[in-house]
């Protein structure tokens, strides 16, 4: 079959036809996927909320409230209620002090600010270092400690694996209003991730920011917290 010649009209026509077909199919696919995409986004948020607060029967997404933190960042608060009573809040918080870029965390608190759990939503920290925060600040599964102890001294000599620092890693059960939630290096109560102090500081910064913002909203005391973030004397990351 002869090829279509390269005249202006032919060229235009071809491109137009292709554009129309492609546009139509794209529009169609868009329509098809629009709902699932939004669902997927919502599901992520909802799952995170579910993870960090006690069981609830309301729709926290519908009751969400946008708050302004002291330093002007926008945080989202999702109240979790059971039978109309507030059983916890999930606060989507963030920090810009990470090793590389923003870190977003969903922090779940009891109404008094005691931390129930957290979930790291988004971060760009180094895999294997900063990324450990996804698990680090939770209570250790007992099994992990056991294997750590079994690490023979030969393996240690050969490879230098240290029993993963037990200590005070977990922030669950702490209350930023009462505990000094900064890394132990800076005089606080939380042990930083080994070799990732920057990420740890940033993480705690975000958690404390969530608390402070929520506390202001709920009129809780913020005395103990005051010093927590001011020590971040370095410089602003992105």
């Amino acid at each position: 079959m002869a090829k279509t010649e390269s005249t202006l009209v032919n060229m235009l026509l071809t491109l137009l036809v292709i554009a129309v077909i492609s546009g139509a199919s794209l529009g169609y696919v868009y329509k098809l996927t629009k709902a699932p995409i939004e669902q997927a986004k919502a599901a992520k948020q909802q799952a995170a909320i579910k993870d960090v607060v006690p069981e609830f029967d309301n729709d926290p997404l519908a009751e969400a409230k946008t708050l302004q933190s002291e330093d002007g960042l926008e945080l989202k608060m999702f109240p979790a209620k059971k039978a109309g009573e507030l059983v916890g809040v999930a606060v989507e918080t963030l920090t810009n002090n990470g090793f590389s870029g923003e870190i977003r965390i969903m922090v779940g608190m009891q109404p008094d600010g005691t931390i129930i759990n957290y979930r790291v939503l988004d971060h760009k920290e180094t895999p294997g270092l900063g990324s450990k925060m996804e698990e680090w600040f939770r209570p250790q599964a007992p099994k992990a400690d056991a294997t750590a102890d079994q690490e023979t001294s030969f393996a240690k000599w050969l490879y230098g694996i240290k029993a993963s620092g037990g200590g005070n890693r977990s922030i669950v059960g702490m209350n930023p209003g009462k505990n000094k939630m900064i890394v132990s290096k800076d005089g606080g109560e939380v042990d930083a991730i080994t070799a990732a102090t920057i990420s740890s500081r940033a993480f705690l910064d975000a958690v404390v920011r969530a608390y402070k913002t929520y506390a202001k909203e709920a009129n809780l005391s913020t005395d103990a917290v005051s010093g927590a973030t001011t020590k971040e004397g370095g410089k602003n990351y992105e």
Binding site: K3, T14, L15, I18, A19, P36, A40, G128
Partner: protein
Amino acid sequence: MNNWKIFANGLLKENPTFTLLLGMCPTLGVTSSAGNGLGMGLATTFVLVMSNMVIALVKDFIPDKVRIPAFVVIIATFVSVVEMSMQAYLPSLFASLGLFIPLIVVNCIVLGRAEAFASKNNPFRSILDGLGMGLGFSMALTLLGSVREFLGSGKIFSLAIYPEDYGMLVFVLAPGAFLALGFLIAIINKLKAA
């Protein structure tokens, strides 16, 4: 060339990654784990097969001068389809592949095959070619991803082989990507020569 050869060509002889060195960005960018590599590979395969097919179908209607723009639009359409579907149904994979999904558009393999093969062959052969090339690409990405994931964090497809603390972190990061691919190609060249 018989059909099997068309298909196998992309898998081995003209493997886009190891011999043609096309599409290097995703190759290096998403292979921090085997799973990501495979996901990216399959996404690319889909685009390759579909665009090859469509281009082979319509090639005779397209005037020479607008060949490239027309191909690009066709490819971009399929990429957008992949993009949206993945976002809808595989959100976590989409999150880890990030920017590299829309960048399939400029992946030289896709346009390259459209130009070099689909615009000269019938749809069936073009599909086979796309499939061969795509799977070759997927294979390479999965292999590289496995090597990096294994060396870097002691896992393959997230299955722990040895404790993560023993891994060489650098292989998960940018320099490790280059180094791993460099030595992989050297080894493959050596095997081929032998």
